[in-house]
Amino acid sequence: MSELAMQVGQSAAPEAVLFWILAPLTLIAALGMLLVKKAVHSAILMAFVMVALAVFYIAQGAPFLGIVQIVVYTGAVMMLFLFILMLVGVDSSDSLTESIRGLRPIAITAAVGFGGLMVSLLGRATLGRGAVGVEAANADGNVEAIAQLLFSTFVWPFEAVSALLITAALGAMVLAHHHRIQERPTQRQLSIDRFRKDSLGAAAGLPAPGVFARHNAVDVPALLPDGSPASASINASLKARGDLQNSSIFELGTVDTSASEEK
């Protein structure tokens, strides 16, 4: 027991501590992405995984990438994801029951096999090989070294990627753009349409909602001359939500004593 503790103590470099704390959390977060129901929770877990990866990059001598990871991924990409999530409905949630028969067991079996084989292969490939480390390459600073490479060896791929970025931006714009099928109706046209309707009831405009001595609100229907409420005076969306007040309680001549007592 003490020997094991000794081994841990000797090998427990700061990086190892970082790794053994962060790596399980990262895996748990990644698995959580699969298991949570709400897409927005998935997005938050994803953001955590990305930040953790950024930390790993920095720990491995890639501070530039780590920063870029945080700025581009957690900053831009995840914001984009969240933005789209808001667009399509933030509470949209999957039912986690599988609709395609047999897909889930197949996927999990294949994934377990894939992961196992990968780990086994990687273990075999890296067994007994120490790391050279990037300290030498980063001697003049990581950003400068990467810049050196980007603008010399990788200048053509760099240019190509910049073209790709522009194209993608254009593509996204083209996709998001949509044509109007009909001309937007002008005021003149709307007015003509009103008069061409079956009834001329709405031709002069809809009645304003109720204005009473005791109350003045958009959710109270106006009263018609015979004392009945005019439903046309209420905004359609209020009606749809059911946020309607009964105008009869504000009628003149009937004094609501309970209301005054409350005051």
């Binding site: 190892a16 790596a23 990644a30 698995l31 992405m33 699969l34 897409a39 998935s42 997005a43 994803m46 995984v49 990305m50 990866l53 790993f56 990059y57 491995q60 001598g61 890639a62 530039f64 990438l65 990871q69 581009v72 991924y73 990409v77 984009l80 994801f81 789209i84 667009l87 399509v88 949209s92 999957d94 889930r104 996927a107 999990i108 994934a111 894939f114 992961g115 780990v119 990687l122 273990g123 890296t126 790391a131 050279v132 990037v134 030498a136 390459a137 990581n142 990467i146 490479l149 980007l150 060896t153 760099f158 990627v161 790709l164 970025l165 194209t167 993608a168 931006a169 996709l175 998001a176």
Partner: protein
């Protein structure tokens, strides 16, 4: 600590991402899982860079990020388009072949 541990982590993250692509139906979650797979690959690149002692791996990871960014832009635009026409972000609803 053995540097290979990063590679194992990368393999596991990649696998989780792959399972996520298959089992989740919300197109946005699917897309995030794809991003997870790309990131797992990036982690491998960075680790390879460290193992080999040159920065090519980091540059490749950088390119991957750029391409991933492009992909997100276009992919999310497509999702929005599909959502607009189908009122659904489920990838199963975008299947026309089966019926």
């Amino acid at each position: 600590m053995d540097v290979a541990n990063y590679l194992y982590l990368s393999a596991l993250l990649f696998t989780i991402g792959a399972v996520g692509v298959i089992v989740r139906r919300n197109a946005i979650v699917v897309f995030m899982c794809i991003e997870l797979m790309l990131n797992a690959a990036n982690l491998s690149f960075v680790t390879f860079s460290r193992i080999n002692g040159d920065l090519n791996g980091q540059v490749i990871a950088f390119f991957t990020m750029v391409v991933a960014a492009c992909e997100v832009v276009v992919g999310l635009a497509i999702i929005v388009m599909i959502y607009r026409s189908r009122r659904s972000a489920s990838v199963d609803d975008a299947s026309l072949l089966s019926r």
